[in-house]
Symmetry: C2
Subunit: 709 residues, 2 copies
């Protein structure tokens, strides 16, 4: 039904453009320009944004024009020069519109004429990589698309300044050949249902609007054959789940969002009758809001799959996202809280509205939600469970990753979980192994350790069977399967999510249930993690907890490798791990306490005499110093067919180094006892100084999935 | 001369107290009270301070009184309870004076009566340690002194509220026995010229003023025998250098400062004619300012010797220090900048003045200085060289530690150097190995690794000979010797400090010269580090650089220990270091580039085929997970008699993960060549793409100590 509805909309689209005479007409429009100019002096955030745009524009006009023949890969000189050039062009275009000073328009004119004088002579980039189609300005076609998306906006800003002759030169010798390159020579990318495809159609479509090329716009929207099978609308339909989740994960969701938003904004200006923001059940709107929900309160995106951990809500894509969502879609007051944290807006119609409303004091705290976000364009390929407790200043947040593989950037980490508290990571994800744009580190590309370490299962907080990664680390098989949601529910005192993965290993079923539970005597909600494994054969099961912080207590015997360290294994990431120490417990359970960001965390777990607790450090087989030396304790069951890992994490006490005080350095849990574990039911007891809690999980009952007494 | 001058002042002191009837008369005085009460509503910082004092007082009055029989060591229950009690008493006293609400005074009355009912029955603390004299309330006498210093201030605040009978009970059964314990039973501590002694005399002296016991005050000021050989004035004379540097180092300088300041404040109120702040050539004033200069722009104290690295200018001691310096000594506008960063003041006469002047907009940026700070009470025992370049937002700072041993908390790190830039540590000091107040970590005391690792030479950025620490790690010998300053000078473009150490090893002379030089083509001043070693015998020389960040480039061959790690040695800290890799260079020099806080650092060093570059990680022989896994590269000359280490560190470029840009990832230095190295002269060439600089150091010439051409 949904698919048919979408096709129907595609057919309805009317290719009548509004007033082609109007320039500019994308982020900044002729109609709102007087108000924006006034706003630059009135609203602090817009003023600040303009000051920084103008600073960049002033830097541009001071420097000699530099349009070098493309030569270097990412991070290299010509790469960075062409990158700063498109930023200069947009900044100068914007500065020209706000100040009307000719020097800025003249910069855009001159540099575009320089590009126009050379572009046709540039062959494919000499540093092209086999993994990605080559560009002509940059090593990747992708970067050329981004270049065009920015440059066309700058051109739009100075359009009215340029003589007809200059326009002709720039269009004939630069934009038309660029678009031919992007749309025809790179038709494969242009037709991809993938974020690279989105950048491509956005470049073509936005240029089509500005240059009045209906043909380009139609193809950008509906694909080369104008049949709706590829192109922007197909991408909108297929790349996001009904909850607005992008299957590659938050890092790429952020990245993918920008061309969607810029092109959507252009569509909304030129063809408002398309109601592009409502298209596909409003999925673009959802995608922005979902991107915001895919962060912790420190602004950082959940770093699942290939992700650089530095990325936060402050990234430019989300500045566009928040501004456009607030201005064009729905003016939710809590978006202003994010804009305030971003501390900038785009100098644009949207930025004006955001800055104005923030100045008027309309901002409200951003509302972080407990959510189940479906994955897959039909919402049927697993998803992410996000549990949250506490306010934005001190929030516990747990993520259960039960989403699909996420294509080539996906990690083999089914039922991985992440835990944040008190503003920081507690149980963390390594993210990707990459030093973006640093040439000496594999040219700024993904390092080989991204494959040998970051993608492997043991790099994540989930179960590894027999020291082999999920799906043996093979993408095709992983992409063909996905976990499923068993249960998700949230009430005031109890948030639960449970997912199942049947395909990661032959004949092994993995079920993980995560709960955040408010129990009176605990300082903070208790994190309950129940990982059930069912198999008819004996295996080794490893469940790592990659913790941040420093261990302060391990009340069980430990054998430490003080004189010699050796790697824990030979492959699937185990070759990168040094085994520091091995512990065991004869009491039926064990606990590890560590201190992170001045707060204590105690994880109490089931452990009998057959269990091992391995303490490890990342860094083996790392001849180029590429890895961070993260640490984990691994709960290891060397031989079992069925097994139940139960781990309870308390957040407690604090240290105050300024006042030199320590409170609550010990957890409340005295012990943990397994009662029973069958295919249908897992149950156990938590014993504190004063109480005994019995937890029962009924995997087959939606009504009484979990009970705590 | 100075010593005589001081003795003269001691003789002049007149023991006439001003108005004994006045209560309170220490931080908050009867005379200024109306203004402080008004200021609490008018000046934001004072208001904020009072809100937090009142919150603590409100917590106090809500909780049941708890005066447990002393039982636990640091971090334990009774320890923390008695600690919070003295904070409650002071907070309630202050809240009473500001609000006049009786409940606060009543709290102080009741709890002091409870103490008075028990104190005399308490024996020495059961957890006493052999290393420190025992208290009765706490495990250390020191803590009892601190308790009394706080409590007497709270008592002073409620003095007028109490009935004569209550006062008698409290004084007879609590304060008089406490003072007897501190002054007589612990006469050894009372007579120590040491920070423990200062807490003791402050407790006795302040109590003497409040209880009108002249005898106590005299003894506190001039020692048990009232001869000036011990006591507060002797401490002032002997514990600080003429530059106001406290020999144990910045961490203990901060700690030691508080009793000096509180007692000085009381003296200044009760006996203003003593002009205590001018006493000893104004050394207390200097000590406050020097404490501020012993920090980096992020507020952290230089963590030399035993130091917890969390300690910043925000610690309470410095809040007192800044408030009192500004109010009682000299109202330098840049102190208000520090107070603004501290974001609080003491609710007091001094806090009033600071908050009022901040509200009036009088604050100016704190002026960090390039300094040579002498050590030793006569200023003749070496010192610290601090070089700084750049403003407070982006400051390069280098510290050369050429100070004396610093007693039992000193580290064996003669000529150690630290380097900060861009708001963070670049070449760092481990600080102490200690988890303060965390019972599971050696009871919150110094860990055994403090001795086996943190104090050892290899834990620092200075030369180790034959893998043996300076002075073989023996305190007595180390304390008996000190390095000497060879040269210190600072001009706009060139800051230099040079120190010599002749006694750390038999027949080995160590001379280190550090310079920050502005050279046109470099982005930031260049850090030049020239470490000359002269010996008549062959030795192994190791010079570690404990860097923060991640290596991005090592352009020389490296053998990596990918399959097995072993410790670098057996003792003197080497047993705690894993050897990850060993490099060597045949080009005469080598370089290591690393990325820290989004900026690149390249250290270029002399290295011929006989040199080794060892890459190491801390963490071997650490069965209790006590150590942080810090990293270093060690320049190693396995066999040489005379040797010259030259290392040039460039701060360059940056990465911006939000904008995904990278600039200047490579340093400008192409190579480095030794020209000559004799006892009197070291010279070398720095070769960049465009220039050759020749550096000559004449160790024997003050006129032309260094030339750069």
């Amino acid at each position: 039904m949904i698919a048919m509805h979408k096709m129907f909309l595609v057919c309805l689209i009317n290719f009548t453009f509004t007033s082609f005479a109007q320039h500019p007409s994308i982020m900044l429009t002729q109609a709102r320009l007087p108000e924006v100019i006034k706003g630059v002096y009135e609203y602090p955030l817009l003023k600040k944004a303009f000051v920084s745009v103008k600073a960049l524009a002033d830097e541009a006009v001071k420097n000699p024009f530099n349009v070098p023949i493309p030569r270097d890969g990412g991070g290299g000189f010509t790469h960075e020069q062409h990158k700063i050039n498109y930023q200069y062009i947009l900044a100068c275009g914007t500065a020209y519109q706000i100040t009307k000073e000719k020097k800025y328009a003249e910069f855009v004119r001159t540099i575009l004429l320089k590009y126009a004088a050379q572009y046709e002579t540039w062959p494919l980039h000499p540093q092209q990589k086999p993994s990605n189609p080559a560009g002509r300005i940059f090593w990747q076609n992708l970067n050329d698309c981004v270049w065009q998306v920015y440059v066309i906006q700058g051109y739009d800003m100075v359009y009215n300044y340029l003589s007809v002759a200059d326009r002709n030169t720039i269009e004939q010798h630069l934009f038309i050949p660029v678009i031919k390159f992007l749309m025809e020579d790179n038709q494969e990318t242009f037709s991809r249902i993938h974020n690279h495809g989105t950048w491509d159609v956005a470049a073509v479509g936005m240029t089509g609007y500005v240059l009045n090329k209906k043909d380009w716009v139609e193809k950008a929207l509906k694909g080369s054959k104008v049949d709706g099978v590829t192109g922007f609308l197909a991408q909108v339909n297929q790349l996001f789940s009904p909850d607005g989740y992008y299957t590659e994960g938050p890092y790429y969701q952020r990245y993918a969002l920008l061309p969607f938003l810029l092109f959507a904004r252009a569509i909304n200006e030129y063809q408002p009758q398309m109601k592009i923001y409502e298209y596909g059940n409003g999925v673009l709107k959802k995608a922005i809001h979902t991107a915001l929900q895919l962060t912790y309160t420190n602004g950082a995106f959940f770093p699942i799959n290939d992700a650089l951990k530095d990325k936060t809500l402050e990234s430019e894509e989300l500045v566009y996202g928040v501004d456009l969502a607030y201005c064009d879609i729905q003016s939710d007051a809590d978006l202003l809280d994010i804009a305030t944290k971003q501390d900038r807006v785009i100098v644009s119609d949207a930025g004006l509205k955001v800055a104005k409303d923030i100045a008027a004091g309309k901002s409200k705290p951003f509302i972080y939600k407990t959510l189940w976000l479906t994955d897959g364009n039909k919402g049927d390929k697993g998803g992410l469970g996000i549990l949250r407790a506490g306010d934005n200043n001190d929030q516990q947040c747990v993520l259960l990753k039960a989403s699909a593989q996420g294509m080539g950037h996906g990690h083999f980490d089914r039922l991985n979980f992440l835990y944040y508290d008190n503003g920081v990571e507690v149980f963390s994800d390594y993210g990707s192994a990459r030093f973006l744009n640093i040439e000496t580190k594999s040219g700024g590309e993904y390092l080989s350790e991204n494959k040998t370490w970051a993608k492997q299962t043991i790099a994540h907080n989930t179960v590894v069977v027999d020291q082999v990664s999920h799906f043996k680390g093979e993408l095709t098989k992983a992409q063909a399967n996905h976990p499923e949601l068993i249960y998700f529910n949230t009430t005031n005192d109890l948030q639960v999510v449970s997912g199942i993965e049947k395909n990661a290993y032959d004949n092994v079923t993995l079920t993980r249930t995560i709960a955040l539970v408010t129990l009176g005597e605990f300082e903070k909600p208790l994190l309950i993690d129940v990982f059930q494994i069912r198999s008819d054969k004996e295996h080794q099961y490893d469940l790592p907890f990659w913790y941040q912080g420093q261990i302060t207590n391990t009340p069980f015997p430990i054998q430490s490798n003080t004189k010699k360290l050796e790697p824990l294994g030979k492959d699937f990431g185990y070759q990168h791990i040094w085994l520091n120490a091995t512990g065991s417990s004869t009491t039926g359970n064990g606990a590890v306490t560590f201190l992170q960001n001045k707060r204590f965390y105690t994880t109490t777990f089931l452990a009998d005499s057959s269990s091992l607790i391995k303490f490890v450090t990342l860094g083996a087989n790392d001849p180029n110093f590429n890895l961070r030396n993260e640490k984990a304790f691994i709960l290891c069951q060397p031989k079992a067919n069925n097994h139940l890992f139960v781990s309870l994490t308390e957040s407690h006490g604090n240290t105050n180094p300024t006042a030199e005080t320590t409170t609550g350095p010990k957890g409340k849990i005295k012990s943990l006892k397994l009662i029973s574990d069958t295919a249908g039911v897992s149950s156990f007891q938590i014993i504190t100084e004063t109480k005994v809690y019995t937890i029962v999980i009924n995997y087959n009952s939606k009504q009484t999935f979990i009970s705590i007494k």
